[in-house]
Symmetry: C2
Subunit: 223 residues, 2 copies
DNA sequence: CAAGCGTTTTAGACGCGGCTAAAACTCTTT
DNA sequence: AAAGAGTTTTAGCCGCGTCTAAAACGCTTG
């Protein structure tokens, strides 16, 4: 079968690739994400390249091959679907489901994943707003805007919260800014890049760390 | 964390211990069950003994320590609960849930297991009739009789089917003898040890391989 | 353009969990 | 009591996935 570590590497490479699709993913970024040394990442890259799952150029980072991307998408699919399942069916708080899904994503047979998907009625996203690939690896890419880059005034809907920012989810919940909630950007400080928003009748000041981790979508047709 | 192989060894030692609680579990029986060589089992025994999970006497087999038994019961609990979940919630056929649970049992966080248990309303047994340990490792041991040893005439309820006998489950389903069904032992051939039963208005002849794998319980108070 | 610094790779080590082949043991059988 | 058969252990090997320490690389900067 797959090998736990392999799958985590592939999925992390995929996620890093998404963040900056231009250039190859560096050894260091993968090592950081995975919490291993750069030497360990290099060793894994050699095994993955040997198995044609990534293209690895010495000192030049890695890129997923089509087969590698297929596997990565499978892991991401299992991860996000099981998150949805944990949150919606077992009522586990959304702050915890990422960690649990990280454990479970490697041990779910296809049939189990497919039945979960049916039970959940084919959800589009995980509880944090990331899209769920379908069983062929296709995934919808909606047009979202980082809160950091949102123009003032418009009322928008929170669509996605970066689940990997330490401590962010409980904070977002405290502020009532979970995916689905509405907010309006009321100000932006050009010096410290703080933004001011209005949501649920309250004003909040958010730092760059937060406004860089929140994606929103327009509530009306954009014209 | 736990280590996949370790957990499977511990659970298999536990299950073999249950079958013959008298004497220690032999290297060969564990190797057979696990599908590895005896040499591999010996090597694992040394690691488990080093970690005080089993008592290992050279050429004398192994026994679980209290800590080892705790861990084993945890694995068995996760296995049987997830079987119930797969069968009852995801409607996966009972012939397949054992294999799937074998994969999943190592990756289920405690909170997930506990929530599944609550969702299922604290089931007593897995879909094949084996008892589910509670979260403290306690498990009910009902008084069951092997069909092989059942006296003639009495009408009884099927309580447990050995899920590890190759090909047995589909056969049992074909005959309509799933746990919960009623049957009556109508004859026993002392030469070949075949038994004749009546169930659902039909007569069936069952070989020893089957009658040794079916447990039944009385339907009335025994007196 | 050479130095220096941060990144990456190599070298060498370790524990896990598997294997094969050979040696050691135990138990039965003559 | 010795032999033989079957079981178990040892010895030696391998790949995975991690580590540390040292060497190699490449990019920026004086
Ligand atoms: Mn993972
Ligand atoms: Mn998520
Ligand atoms: Mn297992
Ligand atoms: Mn079962």
């Amino acid at each position: 079968m797959s090998g736990l570590a392999r799958e985590d590497y592939l999925a992390d490479i995929y996620r890093l690739q998404c963040e900056r699709p231009k250039d190859p993913v560096s050894t260091g970024s993968v090592a950081d994400r995975r919490g291993v040394t750069a030497a360990s990442a290099t060793a894994m890259f050699k095994r993955l390249a040997r198995d044609h799952l990534i293209v690895y150029r010495n000192y030049g980072g890695v890129t997923l091959t089509p087969e590698g991307e297929d596997l990565a998408l499978g892991v991401v699919r299992r991860h996000r679907l099981v998150e949805r399942f944990l949150a919606d069916v077992l009522h586990i708080p959304w702050q915890q489901v990422d960690a649990y899904a990280d454990q479970m994503e490697h041990a779910l047979p296809d049939e189990v994943v497919d039945r979960m998907e049916a039970l959940l009625e084919n959800p589009y996203t995980c509880p944090h707003g990331y899209p769920i690939p379908d069983k062929h690896g296709h995934l919808a890419q909606p047009h979202l805007v980082l809160l950091r880059d949102l123009p003032l005034g418009e009322t928008v809907r929170v669509a996605r919260v970066n689940e990997r920012v330490p401590g962010l989810l409980p904070y977002i919940e405290e502020l009532g800014l979970m995916p689905g909630s509405l907010l309006r950007l009321t100000g932006r400080n050009p010096i410290d890049l703080n933004v001011t928003i209005e949501a649920g009748g309250q004003e909040h000041i958010l730092g760059l760390r937060v406004s860089e981790a929140l994606w929103v979508e327009p509530t009306e047709a954009k014209g």
